[in-house]
């Protein structure tokens, strides 16, 4: 699956020397990279390495302070119109799901299409039910987030992001808050999404998933990309000592 026929040569995300500080703390120290349409990149690294901050700069949940980020031909700047345009192109899935607790699962999914894409309610609901079906939880449509399991909540969150028909999906540790027996149901959905040709940036500690699905694995440490390679090379033949240490630590258990 790694020789993905969906990948084209056009980069959809281009990052040039991206820097970010939290007060005095230098989180991202000049990230330069690009992602192609249809590419699946897994981003890993120890906590505090800047990997989450990096993918959050791509839909401007975090503002970068130096360098340029261009997503689908639109540069991320302080121009609000650009930001809202990009956010419609980029879906995001959070570690803590962040579903809207006062809305039913169906309403969580239809909110964006109705309020941002100006879809009619019936069209949006039809599309949402189809997405829930794809996630294998169509019977949970009229329940509230608090009434379903964590794995189901995360699948609703994925459906919510997909409902905006994004070109890119960002996953910020999507399985880290889940009970072990629920991780696979979320990973299954992500595998299916990968097969459909979606461009995906996934921050995760699930190395099995990385090996199986990723076209490229990026290893972050202390705000820089220490190493990036195809999964085969990355796991079996890491070049840097820090990468070797990280892999040995994560694969031990």
């Amino acid at each position: 699956m790694n020789e993905n026929e969906n990948i084209t040569n056009d980069p959809i995300i281009v990052c040039e020397d991206v820097h970010k500080w939290f007060d005095d703390f230098h989180v991202l120290k000049g990230i330069t990279t690009s992602f192609k349409k249809g590419e699946k990149a897994v981003i890993c690294g120890p906590s505090g390495s800047g990997k989450s901050t990096f993918i959050r700069t791509i839909n401007r949940l975090e503002e970068h302070q130096r360098g340029t980020i261009i997503v689908d031909g639109i540069e991320l700047s302080n121009d609000l119109r650009n930001i809202n345009l990009i956010r419609q192109e980029v879906g995001m899935v959070f570690q803590q799901f962040n579903l809207f607790p006062h809305l039913s699962n169906l309403q969580n999914i239809t909110l964006g299409p109705i309020r941002v894409r100006k879809m009619t309610k019936s069209d949006a609901e039809e599309a949402a039910l189809a997405l829930l079906d794809r996630m294998g939880i169509e019977d949970q449509a009229y329940k509230y987030p608090a009434e379903i399991s964590g794995g189901q909540q995360q699948r609703v969150a994925i459906a919510r992001a997909l409902a905006m028909e994004p070109k890119i999906m960002l996953f910020d540790e999507p399985t880290s808050a889940l009970d072990p027996e629920m991780i696979s149901e979320v990973l299954d959905v992500m595998r299916e999404l990968a097969r459909s040709g979606m461009t995906m940036l996934v921050v995760t500690h699930e190395m099995g998933f990385a090996r199986e699905v990723a076209d490229r694995v990026m290893f972050f440490d202390e705000g820089v990309v220490v190493e990036e390679a195809a999964p085969v090379d990355f796991f079996d033949n890491p070049q840097h000592d820090r990468t070797k240490l990280f892999i040995s630590q994560t694969l031990q258990h």
Binding site: N59, R87, M92, N98, G112, V116, A146, E147, A157, A161
Partner: protein, 396 residues
């Protein structure tokens, strides 16, 4: 492990107690509890005995029915009371239609009000015939419009427009026009209390929400204006604000321009409560986790849409008890307008007691007025509990 079977379902141990057992456990568990119980019983006996004796044998309740008109509308001229009746009829129709269309809470509230109407209709005491007549017509109107409005979703928009137009229409109707107009100084009693309270509640809510959002704004100008407004208003007693509205505002306004006295009281009450409302709402806003804002932004919602659809619904439902507390306080605070010579429900008691026929009947009158206040505030508190249950607060 294959042989592991569940024998039979075991019921939890019963927690029900026989009444005798309950008495023993709760009231007579040992010698000092027994003593305390007996002492309390004796105390309650004497307390209730004196209260009941007063209420049923000594109190002269004749003061209430004789002054029912003053208590309900103050010195509103008798020959113009049809105006009040008309306002009630239109309200009855709107409530009936809303109950029919929206069901749920609307239906329960309307039903409760219709019950009050029915009780007044059937009241055994000798009320004014026109009061009875108004109650009969209003109750009938509620019932008829409820039946007409049932499941008529296409009427929704018109009913909402009706509610919006209700306030200006009511003011116009009560005030009249031309030579026959009735000065707002004649408005009084429960009528004035309700008008002030409803206007204050409806108007202070949106202003309070805007101030709360303003106080959390990233724009310094908006933030500072909100902070200064909230802190200054919270630092002043309502009485001061009422005095300023009543005495100082006319001095500042350009010559000849007159603002109606009741209107000034409405503005003062609204601006006062808005500051408190803002702080209640801000408490709710702070309880909404950051992830909610991020998720809303990630879906592409703009700031106003994020607030309208995601943040405010969650913020407001978490502070319903505080908001309703503020509404109840506002309802009772309307009694302070008597210091600027407006005679609302409590204020009219002075007019009544000034009549030589009724001197010395303060306890009867005040107790009755207290009961009226209690009925309304308890109703507000009860409705808020239903709203919370309807919204599933604490569940999802």
């Amino acid at each position: 492990m294959e042989n592991l079977t569940f024998t039979q379902e075991i019921k939890p141990p019963s927690t029900k107690k026989s009444p005798l057992r309950w008495l023993k456990d709760n009231l007579f568990s040992n010698w000092y509890n027994t003593l305390l119980t007996l002492f309390t019983i004796v105390l309650l006996y004497f307390l209730f005995k004196s209260v009941f004796t007063w209420v049923f044998t000594q109190a002269q309740w004749a003061v209430i029915p004789a002054n029912l008109q003053i208590l309900s509308v103050g010195s509103y001229p008798r020959e113009h009371l049809w105006r009040v009746a008309y306002v009630i009829y239109v309200l009855a129709v709107l409530m009936g239609l809303s109950a029919g269309i929206w069901k749920g809470l609307n239906q329960q509230i309307t039903f409760a009000i219709a019950c009050i109407g029915a009780v007044i209709t059937l009241l055994p005491i000798n009320v004014n015939t026109s009061v009875r007549e108004t109650a009969v017509i209003a109750t009938t109107l509620i019932a008829v419009s409820y039946v007409l409005g049932r499941d008529r979703q296409n009427l929704k928009r018109w009913v909402i427009i009706g509610w919006v137009l209700m306030f200006p229409w009511m003011m116009f109707m009560l005030h009249g026009f031309g030579e026959n107009s009735i000065s707002t100084l004649n408005w009084g009693g429960l009528l004035l209390t309700l008008i002030l309270a409803v206007v204050g509640i409806v108007a202070c809510f949106p202003i309070g929400v805007l101030l709360a959002l303003g106080r959390r704004s990233r724009l310094p100008a908006i933030r500072w204006v909100s902070i200064v407004y909230i802190e200054v208003v919270r630092g002043m007693p309502l009485v001061t604000i009422l005095f300023m509205g009543s005495l100082m505002l006319p001095i500042f306004l350009p010559g000849g321009f007159q603002l109606d006295k009741v209107l000034r009281a409405m503005i003062a009450l609204t601006l006062f409560s808005a500051a408190y409302m803002a702080e209640n709402v801000r408490g709710g806003l702070q309880a909404v986790p950051r992830g909610q804002y991020e998720a809303a932004q990630a879906v592409g919602l703009s700031y106003p849409k994020t607030m309208t659809f995601i943040v405010l619904p969650q913020a407001l439902r978490s502070v319903i008890p505080a908001i309703v507390g503020q509404f109840i306080a506002l309802f009772k605070d309307t009694s302070l307008v008597s210091i600027i010579a407006l005679s609302e429900l409590l204020g009219v008691s002075d007019n009544i007691l000034g009549n030589p026929n009724w001197t010395g009947l303060k306890p009867e009158l005040y107790l009755f007025i207290a009961v009226i206040y209690f009925i309304f505030t308890f109703a507000m508190s009860y409705v808020s509990q239903i709203v919370e249950a309807d919204l599933g607060v604490g569940k999802h």
